[in-house]
Amino acid sequence: MSAFEAAAGRGDLQRVGHDGEPWEHRYTAHHAAGGLLSKRIVVGYGFWIFLLSDIIMFSAFFATYAVLVGATAGGPSGRELFNLNNVAIETACLLLSSFTCGIASIGARMQRGTWFYGAMTATGILGAAFLFIEVHEFMGMVARGAGPTRSAFLSAFFTLVGCHGLHVTAGMLWLLTMMAQVFAKGYRADILRRVLCFGLFWHTLDIIWVAIFTVVYLMGVWQ
Protein backbone atom coordinates (compact mmCIF):
# COMPACT_ATOMS: atom_id res chain seq x y z
CA MET A 1 0.00 0.00 0.00
CA SER A 2 2.67 2.44 -0.95
CA ALA A 3 0.23 5.20 -1.87
CA PHE A 4 -0.88 5.17 1.75
CA GLU A 5 2.71 5.09 2.94
CA ALA A 6 3.57 7.98 0.67
CA ALA A 7 0.73 9.92 2.27
CA ALA A 8 1.97 8.94 5.72
CA GLY A 9 5.49 10.03 4.83
CA ARG A 10 7.08 6.58 4.82
CA GLY A 11 8.93 4.79 2.05
CA ASP A 12 8.00 1.48 0.51
CA LEU A 13 9.82 -0.90 2.82
CA GLN A 14 9.33 -3.86 0.54
CA ARG A 15 11.77 -2.33 -1.89
CA VAL A 16 14.58 -2.15 0.67
CA GLY A 17 17.81 -3.71 -0.49
CA HIS A 18 17.01 -3.91 -4.18
CA ASP A 19 20.18 -1.95 -4.68
CA GLY A 20 23.02 -1.23 -2.30
CA GLU A 21 21.88 2.09 -0.89
CA PRO A 22 20.02 2.24 2.48
CA TRP A 23 16.44 3.28 2.00
CA GLU A 24 16.69 6.34 4.26
CA HIS A 25 19.20 7.93 1.90
CA ARG A 26 17.07 7.24 -1.10
CA TYR A 27 14.08 8.62 0.75
CA THR A 28 15.71 11.98 1.52
CA ALA A 29 17.21 12.19 -1.95
CA HIS A 30 13.83 11.40 -3.35
CA HIS A 31 12.17 14.17 -1.41
CA ALA A 32 14.67 16.65 -2.72
CA ALA A 33 14.22 15.46 -6.27
CA GLY A 34 10.63 14.64 -7.03
CA GLY A 35 8.04 14.94 -4.30
CA LEU A 36 5.48 16.19 -6.81
CA LEU A 37 5.21 12.91 -8.67
CA SER A 38 4.27 11.04 -5.52
CA LYS A 39 1.67 13.68 -4.69
CA ARG A 40 0.20 13.16 -8.15
CA ILE A 41 -0.15 9.46 -7.39
CA VAL A 42 -1.76 10.09 -4.00
CA VAL A 43 -4.23 12.61 -5.46
CA GLY A 44 -5.12 10.29 -8.35
CA TYR A 45 -5.56 7.35 -5.99
CA GLY A 46 -7.78 9.33 -3.63
CA PHE A 47 -9.95 10.49 -6.51
CA TRP A 48 -10.12 6.90 -7.76
CA ILE A 49 -11.55 5.86 -4.36
CA PHE A 50 -14.16 8.65 -4.64
CA LEU A 51 -15.14 7.50 -8.13
CA LEU A 52 -15.57 3.93 -6.89
CA SER A 53 -17.89 5.20 -4.15
CA ASP A 54 -19.79 7.12 -6.82
CA ILE A 55 -20.14 3.90 -8.84
CA ILE A 56 -21.49 2.18 -5.71
CA MET A 57 -24.10 4.93 -5.39
CA PHE A 58 -25.10 4.37 -9.02
CA SER A 59 -25.34 0.62 -8.40
CA ALA A 60 -28.00 1.37 -5.75
CA PHE A 61 -29.98 3.34 -8.37
CA PHE A 62 -29.52 0.47 -10.84
CA ALA A 63 -30.83 -2.01 -8.25
CA THR A 64 -33.86 0.26 -7.62
CA TYR A 65 -34.51 0.51 -11.35
CA ALA A 66 -34.22 -3.25 -11.87
CA VAL A 67 -36.69 -3.88 -9.02
CA LEU A 68 -39.22 -1.29 -10.28
CA VAL A 69 -38.88 -1.77 -14.04
CA GLY A 70 -42.12 -3.75 -14.25
CA ALA A 71 -44.14 -1.41 -11.99
CA THR A 72 -45.64 0.72 -14.77
CA ALA A 73 -49.01 1.18 -13.00
CA GLY A 74 -50.84 0.89 -16.32
CA GLY A 75 -48.66 3.62 -17.82
CA PRO A 76 -46.22 3.40 -20.71
CA SER A 77 -43.32 0.97 -20.54
CA GLY A 78 -39.80 1.49 -21.85
CA ARG A 79 -40.65 -0.19 -25.12
CA GLU A 80 -43.19 2.55 -25.95
CA LEU A 81 -41.07 5.44 -24.68
CA PHE A 82 -37.47 4.86 -25.72
CA ASN A 83 -36.11 5.98 -29.07
CA LEU A 84 -32.99 3.98 -29.84
CA ASN A 85 -31.80 6.42 -32.53
CA ASN A 86 -31.44 9.12 -29.87
CA VAL A 87 -29.69 6.68 -27.54
CA ALA A 88 -27.24 5.69 -30.29
CA ILE A 89 -26.36 9.36 -30.92
CA GLU A 90 -25.97 9.99 -27.17
CA THR A 91 -23.71 6.94 -26.89
CA ALA A 92 -21.57 8.10 -29.82
CA CYS A 93 -21.26 11.58 -28.27
CA LEU A 94 -20.10 10.27 -24.89
CA LEU A 95 -17.73 7.67 -26.36
CA LEU A 96 -16.07 10.22 -28.66
CA SER A 97 -15.87 12.76 -25.82
CA SER A 98 -14.15 10.15 -23.65
CA PHE A 99 -11.62 9.70 -26.46
CA THR A 100 -11.01 13.44 -26.92
CA CYS A 101 -10.71 13.79 -23.13
CA GLY A 102 -7.87 11.26 -23.24
CA ILE A 103 -6.20 13.25 -26.04
CA ALA A 104 -6.60 16.40 -23.90
CA SER A 105 -4.86 14.76 -20.95
CA ILE A 106 -1.93 13.80 -23.22
CA GLY A 107 -1.89 17.38 -24.53
CA ALA A 108 -1.75 18.71 -20.98
CA ARG A 109 1.13 16.39 -20.11
CA MET A 110 3.06 17.45 -23.22
CA GLN A 111 2.07 21.07 -22.49
CA ARG A 112 0.81 21.60 -26.02
CA GLY A 113 -1.94 24.18 -26.10
CA THR A 114 -3.37 23.20 -29.49
CA TRP A 115 -3.90 19.63 -28.36
CA PHE A 116 -5.18 20.50 -24.91
CA TYR A 117 -7.57 23.32 -25.81
CA GLY A 118 -8.71 21.67 -29.05
CA ALA A 119 -9.46 18.33 -27.43
CA MET A 120 -11.09 19.95 -24.38
CA THR A 121 -13.32 22.05 -26.65
CA ALA A 122 -14.31 18.94 -28.60
CA THR A 123 -15.07 17.15 -25.31
CA GLY A 124 -17.22 20.08 -24.18
CA ILE A 125 -19.17 20.27 -27.45
CA LEU A 126 -19.83 16.52 -27.44
CA GLY A 127 -20.90 16.64 -23.78
CA ALA A 128 -23.24 19.56 -24.51
CA ALA A 129 -24.75 17.64 -27.45
CA PHE A 130 -25.33 14.66 -25.16
CA LEU A 131 -27.03 16.85 -22.55
CA PHE A 132 -29.16 18.59 -25.18
CA ILE A 133 -30.50 15.26 -26.53
CA GLU A 134 -31.12 13.95 -23.02
CA VAL A 135 -33.01 17.07 -21.87
CA HIS A 136 -34.99 16.98 -25.12
CA GLU A 137 -35.91 13.34 -24.45
CA PHE A 138 -36.93 14.08 -20.85
CA MET A 139 -39.10 17.05 -21.88
CA GLY A 140 -40.75 14.97 -24.58
CA MET A 141 -41.59 12.25 -22.07
CA VAL A 142 -43.02 14.74 -19.55
CA ALA A 143 -45.10 16.34 -22.33
CA ARG A 144 -46.55 12.93 -23.19
CA GLY A 145 -47.67 12.51 -19.58
CA ALA A 146 -44.83 10.09 -18.82
CA GLY A 147 -43.06 12.22 -16.21
CA PRO A 148 -41.43 10.91 -13.03
CA THR A 149 -44.77 11.03 -11.17
CA ARG A 150 -46.55 8.67 -13.59
CA SER A 151 -45.31 5.33 -12.23
CA ALA A 152 -42.64 3.73 -10.03
CA PHE A 153 -40.86 2.64 -13.20
CA LEU A 154 -40.64 6.22 -14.47
CA SER A 155 -39.55 7.54 -11.05
CA ALA A 156 -36.67 5.04 -11.05
CA PHE A 157 -35.86 5.86 -14.69
CA PHE A 158 -35.67 9.61 -14.15
CA THR A 159 -33.65 9.17 -10.93
CA LEU A 160 -31.05 6.90 -12.55
CA VAL A 161 -30.65 8.60 -15.93
CA GLY A 162 -31.15 12.08 -14.45
CA CYS A 163 -28.41 11.47 -11.85
CA HIS A 164 -26.03 10.55 -14.68
CA GLY A 165 -27.12 13.69 -16.53
CA LEU A 166 -26.39 15.78 -13.42
CA HIS A 167 -22.92 14.24 -13.28
CA VAL A 168 -22.34 15.18 -16.93
CA THR A 169 -23.52 18.74 -16.16
CA ALA A 170 -21.08 18.97 -13.25
CA GLY A 171 -18.38 17.56 -15.52
CA MET A 172 -19.10 20.27 -18.11
CA LEU A 173 -18.64 22.99 -15.47
CA TRP A 174 -15.43 21.31 -14.33
CA LEU A 175 -14.22 21.11 -17.94
CA LEU A 176 -14.69 24.86 -18.46
CA THR A 177 -12.98 25.52 -15.11
CA MET A 178 -9.97 23.41 -16.11
CA MET A 179 -9.62 25.21 -19.46
CA ALA A 180 -9.76 28.57 -17.67
CA GLN A 181 -7.26 27.48 -15.01
CA VAL A 182 -4.75 26.16 -17.55
CA PHE A 183 -5.21 29.37 -19.53
CA ALA A 184 -4.72 31.63 -16.48
CA LYS A 185 -2.11 29.67 -14.51
CA GLY A 186 -0.34 27.51 -17.10
CA TYR A 187 0.66 23.85 -16.82
CA ARG A 188 1.55 23.96 -13.12
CA ALA A 189 1.84 20.69 -11.22
CA ASP A 190 -1.27 21.34 -9.13
CA ILE A 191 -3.30 22.28 -12.21
CA LEU A 192 -2.14 19.12 -13.99
CA ARG A 193 -3.29 17.04 -11.01
CA ARG A 194 -6.75 18.57 -11.40
CA VAL A 195 -6.70 17.76 -15.12
CA LEU A 196 -5.85 14.16 -14.22
CA CYS A 197 -8.83 13.97 -11.84
CA PHE A 198 -11.13 15.55 -14.41
CA GLY A 199 -10.08 12.93 -16.99
CA LEU A 200 -10.80 10.13 -14.51
CA PHE A 201 -14.23 11.62 -13.76
CA TRP A 202 -15.18 11.95 -17.44
CA HIS A 203 -14.07 8.40 -18.33
CA THR A 204 -16.04 7.03 -15.37
CA LEU A 205 -19.19 8.82 -16.59
CA ASP A 206 -18.82 6.97 -19.88
CA ILE A 207 -18.48 3.62 -18.06
CA ILE A 208 -21.73 4.34 -16.19
CA TRP A 209 -23.41 5.28 -19.48
CA VAL A 210 -22.45 1.87 -20.91
CA ALA A 211 -24.42 0.27 -18.08
CA ILE A 212 -27.34 2.68 -18.60
CA PHE A 213 -27.73 2.18 -22.35
CA THR A 214 -27.51 -1.60 -21.90
CA VAL A 215 -29.72 -2.12 -18.84
CA VAL A 216 -32.23 0.71 -19.33
CA TYR A 217 -32.55 1.31 -23.06
CA LEU A 218 -31.52 -1.84 -24.94
CA MET A 219 -33.09 -4.28 -22.47
CA GLY A 220 -36.10 -1.97 -22.09
CA VAL A 221 -36.74 -1.93 -25.83
CA TRP A 222 -36.11 -5.63 -26.27
CA GLN A 223 -38.55 -6.73 -23.53
Binding site: S2, A3, A6, G11, D12, R15, H18, D19, R26, Y27, H30, G34, L37, S38, R40, I41, V43, G44, Y45, F47, W48, I49, L52, S53, I55, I56, S59, A60, F62, A63, A66, V67, L84, A88, T91, L95, L96, S98, F99, G102, I103, S105, I106, R109, M110, L196, G199, L200, H203, D206, I207, V210, A211, F213, T214, V215, L218, M219, V221, W222
Partner: protein, 135 residues
Protein backbone atom coordinates in the same frame (compact mmCIF):
# COMPACT_ATOMS: atom_id res chain seq x y z
CA UNK B 1 15.98 -2.84 -10.51
CA UNK B 2 16.55 -1.71 -14.06
CA UNK B 3 17.94 1.64 -15.01
CA UNK B 4 14.75 3.02 -16.55
CA UNK B 5 12.80 2.27 -13.37
CA UNK B 6 15.35 4.17 -11.34
CA UNK B 7 15.03 7.18 -13.58
CA UNK B 8 11.28 7.19 -13.34
CA UNK B 9 10.75 6.89 -9.62
CA UNK B 10 12.70 4.55 -7.40
CA UNK B 11 10.67 4.79 -4.21
CA UNK B 12 7.11 5.19 -5.37
CA UNK B 13 6.78 2.85 -8.32
CA UNK B 14 3.00 3.18 -8.44
CA UNK B 15 0.98 4.76 -11.22
CA UNK B 16 -1.92 7.04 -10.58
CA UNK B 17 -5.13 5.77 -12.18
CA UNK B 18 -5.58 7.41 -15.57
CA UNK B 19 -1.85 7.94 -15.91
CA UNK B 20 -0.77 7.24 -19.47
CA UNK B 21 2.92 7.01 -18.70
CA UNK B 22 4.02 3.45 -18.42
CA UNK B 23 7.65 2.56 -18.17
CA UNK B 24 9.18 3.39 -21.52
CA UNK B 25 5.90 4.36 -23.14
CA UNK B 26 6.00 7.49 -25.24
CA UNK B 27 3.22 9.85 -26.26
CA UNK B 28 2.57 8.19 -29.61
CA UNK B 29 1.89 4.90 -27.84
CA UNK B 30 -0.40 6.68 -25.36
CA UNK B 31 -2.44 8.15 -28.22
CA UNK B 32 -2.47 4.72 -29.85
CA UNK B 33 -3.95 3.23 -26.68
CA UNK B 34 -6.88 5.66 -26.86
CA UNK B 35 -7.42 4.81 -30.54
CA UNK B 36 -7.51 1.07 -29.76
CA UNK B 37 -9.97 1.73 -26.94
CA UNK B 38 -12.19 3.86 -29.18
CA UNK B 39 -12.23 1.17 -31.88
CA UNK B 40 -13.02 -1.69 -29.51
CA UNK B 41 -15.70 0.28 -27.64
CA UNK B 42 -17.35 1.33 -30.93
CA UNK B 43 -17.37 -2.28 -32.11
CA UNK B 44 -18.91 -3.57 -28.86
CA UNK B 45 -21.53 -0.79 -28.88
CA UNK B 46 -22.56 -1.52 -32.47
CA UNK B 47 -22.89 -5.24 -31.71
CA UNK B 48 -25.02 -4.46 -28.62
CA UNK B 49 -27.42 -2.21 -30.55
CA UNK B 50 -27.54 -4.66 -33.45
CA UNK B 51 -28.51 -7.58 -31.18
CA UNK B 52 -31.17 -5.52 -29.36
CA UNK B 53 -32.72 -4.16 -32.58
CA UNK B 54 -32.62 -7.29 -34.72
CA UNK B 55 -34.20 -9.28 -31.88
CA UNK B 56 -34.95 -12.94 -32.25
CA UNK B 57 -34.28 -13.09 -35.98
CA UNK B 58 -30.57 -13.35 -35.23
CA UNK B 59 -30.13 -14.74 -31.71
CA UNK B 60 -32.10 -17.17 -29.56
CA UNK B 61 -34.49 -14.98 -27.52
CA UNK B 62 -33.62 -15.83 -23.92
CA UNK B 63 -29.91 -15.35 -24.62
CA UNK B 64 -30.32 -11.68 -25.62
CA UNK B 65 -30.20 -10.13 -22.10
CA UNK B 66 -27.21 -12.31 -21.24
CA UNK B 67 -25.45 -11.32 -24.46
CA UNK B 68 -26.15 -7.62 -23.79
CA UNK B 69 -24.77 -7.91 -20.24
CA UNK B 70 -21.63 -9.72 -21.42
CA UNK B 71 -21.04 -7.08 -24.12
CA UNK B 72 -21.52 -4.26 -21.57
CA UNK B 73 -19.09 -5.81 -19.09
CA UNK B 74 -16.58 -6.33 -21.90
CA UNK B 75 -16.93 -2.69 -22.90
CA UNK B 76 -16.41 -1.56 -19.29
CA UNK B 77 -13.21 -3.61 -19.31
CA UNK B 78 -12.11 -1.90 -22.53
CA UNK B 79 -12.76 1.50 -20.94
CA UNK B 80 -10.84 0.58 -17.79
CA UNK B 81 -7.80 -0.72 -19.69
CA UNK B 82 -7.51 1.72 -22.60
CA UNK B 83 -9.08 4.93 -21.21
CA UNK B 84 -8.46 4.74 -17.45
CA UNK B 85 -5.18 2.83 -17.97
CA UNK B 86 -5.81 0.32 -15.21
CA UNK B 87 -3.39 -2.51 -15.91
CA UNK B 88 -2.22 -5.69 -14.22
CA UNK B 89 1.31 -4.32 -13.87
CA UNK B 90 3.01 -4.07 -10.47
CA UNK B 91 2.63 -0.26 -10.58
CA UNK B 92 -1.16 -0.65 -10.57
CA UNK B 93 -1.73 -3.07 -7.66
CA UNK B 94 -3.29 -0.41 -5.43
CA UNK B 95 -5.68 0.78 -8.14
CA UNK B 96 -6.75 -2.78 -9.00
CA UNK B 97 -7.30 -3.68 -5.33
CA UNK B 98 -9.53 -0.63 -4.83
CA UNK B 99 -11.41 -1.49 -8.03
CA UNK B 100 -11.86 -5.11 -6.92
CA UNK B 101 -13.34 -3.97 -3.61
CA UNK B 102 -15.68 -1.57 -5.42
CA UNK B 103 -16.83 -4.33 -7.77
CA UNK B 104 -17.44 -6.62 -4.78
CA UNK B 105 -19.69 -4.03 -3.11
CA UNK B 106 -21.54 -3.33 -6.37
CA UNK B 107 -22.20 -7.04 -6.92
CA UNK B 108 -23.38 -7.53 -3.31
CA UNK B 109 -25.68 -4.52 -3.58
CA UNK B 110 -27.20 -5.53 -6.94
CA UNK B 111 -27.56 -9.26 -6.25
CA UNK B 112 -28.76 -8.72 -2.68
CA UNK B 113 -31.41 -6.14 -3.63
CA UNK B 114 -32.76 -8.20 -6.54
CA UNK B 115 -32.80 -11.40 -4.48
CA UNK B 116 -34.56 -9.88 -1.48
CA UNK B 117 -37.13 -7.99 -3.56
CA UNK B 118 -37.90 -11.03 -5.72
CA UNK B 119 -38.38 -13.07 -2.56
CA UNK B 120 -40.73 -10.48 -1.05
CA UNK B 121 -42.71 -10.25 -4.29
CA UNK B 122 -43.04 -14.02 -4.28
CA UNK B 123 -44.26 -14.13 -0.67
CA UNK B 124 -46.68 -11.25 -0.97
CA UNK B 125 -50.38 -12.03 -0.98
CA UNK B 126 -52.09 -11.21 -4.30
CA UNK B 127 -53.48 -7.67 -4.24
CA UNK B 128 -57.17 -8.63 -4.69
CA UNK B 129 -57.06 -10.84 -1.56
CA UNK B 130 -55.62 -7.93 0.47
CA UNK B 131 -58.48 -5.74 -0.82
CA UNK B 132 -61.07 -8.29 0.29
CA UNK B 133 -59.52 -8.59 3.78
CA UNK B 134 -59.85 -4.85 4.25
CA UNK B 135 -63.59 -4.83 3.61
Amino acid sequence: MSNSEWERDPLYPDSAPGEETFLGQDDAEAVGSYFIGLGLATLLTIVSFFIAISGTTLVWGPSIPVALLVLAIAQMGVHLVFFLNITTGPDNVNNVMALAFGVLIVLLLLAGSLWIMANMNHNMMPMDQIMQMQR
